[in-house]
């Protein structure tokens, strides 16, 4: 479940001074403060990294803020942060601005992957869906209202209606699914909006008529993940870390961290730790796909 940003900010506002004060007594203050800003999708993982790193290197404090990928990149260009989290690549215009402002090229680091699985009840006979079918189910004015509209005889669901389950509109998962599966169109009215990835999978598990989406790490035995095809003739690919990494699975994207110029000093140490097995274990723990073992340097 995503923690509302404002609570996080408020909690940080209370906790940070205390943390600094309490550390100050014992360790003569935090030697280095790294600032990390950007994507709201990545804020959970970025915060988990920062917290875990505080135990690895207590003399370094990493402060994380959200605001969106664009906000983080803008802050990197201004030089107010050392790292920018982004769930999209940097635009050429942004690269140019960074070069003009700071005199260096951005360095792009892939720190993990975000892949959404489409879930149905385990008794649903659907074998695969195309992105166009997914759009017809979910998007406003989409044609598919019943399972039979997709050519599926879902006997577990006597009324045949497709129950569409989504996340609340403020979540990054909602934005990502809307961007990739709905091509930025709106969700159909009457779509159930739930407040957490786990809740979506749980409800799909109880509801034979339902279809829903969440990070693939949330799968349970009560649901099945639907293989997806980019187009009608194409091969349907089941979501898996491997299919995410070789880009054959359609609803996946890398999670980027950008720095201005080759990272040095504490920033470099932090990024190396992020790509190391302990850092990547955190990626998996918050529901994303970690980099494959041995690929950490390739991610750079």
């Amino acid at each position: 479940m995503r923690v509302p940003r404002r609570f996080v900010t408020a909690a940080l506002a209370v906790v940070l001074p205390l943390a600094v004060l309490s550390c100050g007594g014992r360790r003569h203050g935090v030697a280095t403060v790294l600032l990390d800003r950007g994507s709201d999708t990545m804020i959970n993982v970025a915060q988990a990294w920062a917290e875990a790193y505080a135990r690895v290197a207590p003399e370094v404090s990493v402060e994380v803020a959200g605001g969106g990928s664009g906000v983080g990149i803008a802050a990197l260009i201004e030089g107010t942060v050392q790292m920018a989290n982004s769930s999209r690549p940097m635009k050429p215009a942004e690269r140019d601005r960074l070069r003009a402002a700071r005199g260096v090229d951005p360095v792009q680091i892939v720190a993990g992957y975000d892949a959404l699985a489409v879930f149905v009840h385990r008794d649903n006979p659907v074998a695969s869906l195309t992105l166009a079918q997914l759009e017809a189910v979910y998007a406003e004015h989409g044609a598919a209202e019943r399972w039979s509209d997709l050519g599926i005889r879902n006997t577990a669901c006597p009324r045949d209606t497709i129950i569409r389950i989504s996340r609340q509109s403020s979540s990054g998962t909602y934005d990502f699914f809307r961007e990739v599966a709905l091509r930025n169109r709106d969700f159909k009215l009457g779509t159930l909006e739930l407040n957490g990835s786990k809740e979506v999978v749980e409800l799909v598990g109880h509801t034979p008529c339902a279809i829903g989406y969440s990070g693939m790490g949330y799968a349970t035995p009560a649901v099945k993940m639907v293989p997806l095809a980019r187009a009608a003739g194409a091969v349907a690919v089941a979501p898996s870390p491997r299919a995410t990494l070789d880009r054959s699975y359609p609803i996946a994207r890398p999670l980027y961290v950008f720095v201005a110029g080759e990272p040095e000093g504490e920033t470099r140490r932090y990024l190396d730790w992020m790509l190391s097995p302990p850092g990547q274990a955190i990626v998996a723990a918050v529901g994303y796909v970690p980099l494959p073992a041995g690929h950490t340097e390739a991610g750079r």
Binding site: P158, R159, S170, N184, L189, T191, L192, C209, A210
Partner: protein
């Protein structure tokens, strides 16, 4: 208070009857506190209303917002990339549907239970029942919501073949269970307040117990019973957490009891957390708050007029 003693040189005997200054001050202090408590209710309502209206106000003059769309369109797309739309008609209908169902279940059961408790039940059983009913009122709403999400959800699919278990019926059942204790306790008080002389007179005339209840007690206690029902409505309209979890939180006009809906309160709760302060979406959420104020005011006003109408007869 006597003032004569202060001017003239007081005789020792009379001075003893003057109240000590401490006592006078204490009384004044208590008086002030009581007045302040009384006035504070008005002040709080006024301040809350002012704050809600102030936060909502800018959106009413915004060019993206039209009051007509707000009240009569069912399209709620506050974060759309294509076209932002703020229509809450579906949520108004959702709120009414859930509340009406809850009241249709809670009022007959609640009043029935109140009649049983006050007229038919033995004193020992009554004490036990009252404790249990008060316990029912003490269950936090998030626990009710959890019950709806897990137990009622599955039951509705199993028993009624519902497409999805989070729907009007689920939320209506939960809200009915949550409002019943209020209806029962206030209803019972209202029936108890009817003087025993009424009962005795009716029984002396040869009325059966049922006739006493139907012809004497219910008409005599009607104001109290109406108040009981309306407080139940208030509880149901204002409830947030349980309906957020049990309605399915889907923006649509329900076609039946087994369709998911969204209520106004749940929408505010779900979206206020992450909306950026001062944005148009934030202001529209406050406009929904103003709308809820208006609905509550209308309910109370209607109740008041009805009670007066009943009195007038």
């Amino acid at each position: 208070m006597t003032t004569g003693a202060s001017g003239a040189p007081a005789a020792p005997g009379r001075a003893r009857f003057r109240r000590p200054p401490l006592s006078v001050w204490t009384e004044r202090l208590i008086e002030t506190v009581v007045i302040a408590s009384g006035v504070s209710a008005v002040v709080f309502v006024a301040v809350i209303l002012f704050f809600v209206v102030r936060e909502a106000a800018p959106v009413f003059v915004s060019e993206h917002f039209s009051l007509r769309e707000f009240l009569f369109s069912i399209e709620w797309y506050p974060t759309s990339l294509v076209k932002v739309r703020y229509g809450v008609a579906a949520m108004i209908v959702g709120t009414l549907a859930v509340t009406t169902l809850a009241m249709a279940l809670a009022v007959p059961f609640g009043i029935g239970a109140a009649i049983y408790l006050s007229e038919f039940c033995g004193p020992r059983l009554r004490e036990t029942l009252k404790i249990v009913i008060e316990l029912l009122a003490a269950i936090p709403s998030v626990v009710w919501g959890f019950l709806g999400l897990t137990v009622v959800n599955r039951l509705l699919i199993l028993l009624f073949g519902a497409s999805v278990g989070l729907n009007v019926l689920n939320a209506g059942l939960l809200l009915a269970l949550m409002s019943v204790p209020i209806v029962v306790s206030i209803g019972e008080d209202a029936l108890k307040a009817v003087p025993d002389a009424h009962r005795e007179a009716a029984l002396a005339m040869g009325a059966t117990r049922w006739q006493v209840v139907y012809r004497v007690l219910l008409p005599a206690a009607r104001h109290g019973l109406l108040a009981a029902a309306l407080l139940g409505v208030g509880r149901a309209v204002g409830e947030t957490m349980a309906v957020l979890m049990a309605t399915g939180h889907a923006v649509q006009i329900p076609g039946g009891l087994l369709d998911p809906v969204r209520t106004l309160t749940a929408n505010i709760a779900a979206e206020m957390g992450e909306v950026s302060q001062g944005s148009e979406h934030y202001q529209v959420l406050f406009a929904i708050g103003v709308l809820l104020f208006a609905i509550t005011f209308l309910v109370n006003l209607t109740a008041d007029l009805v009670v007066r109408g009943v009195r007038g007869k």
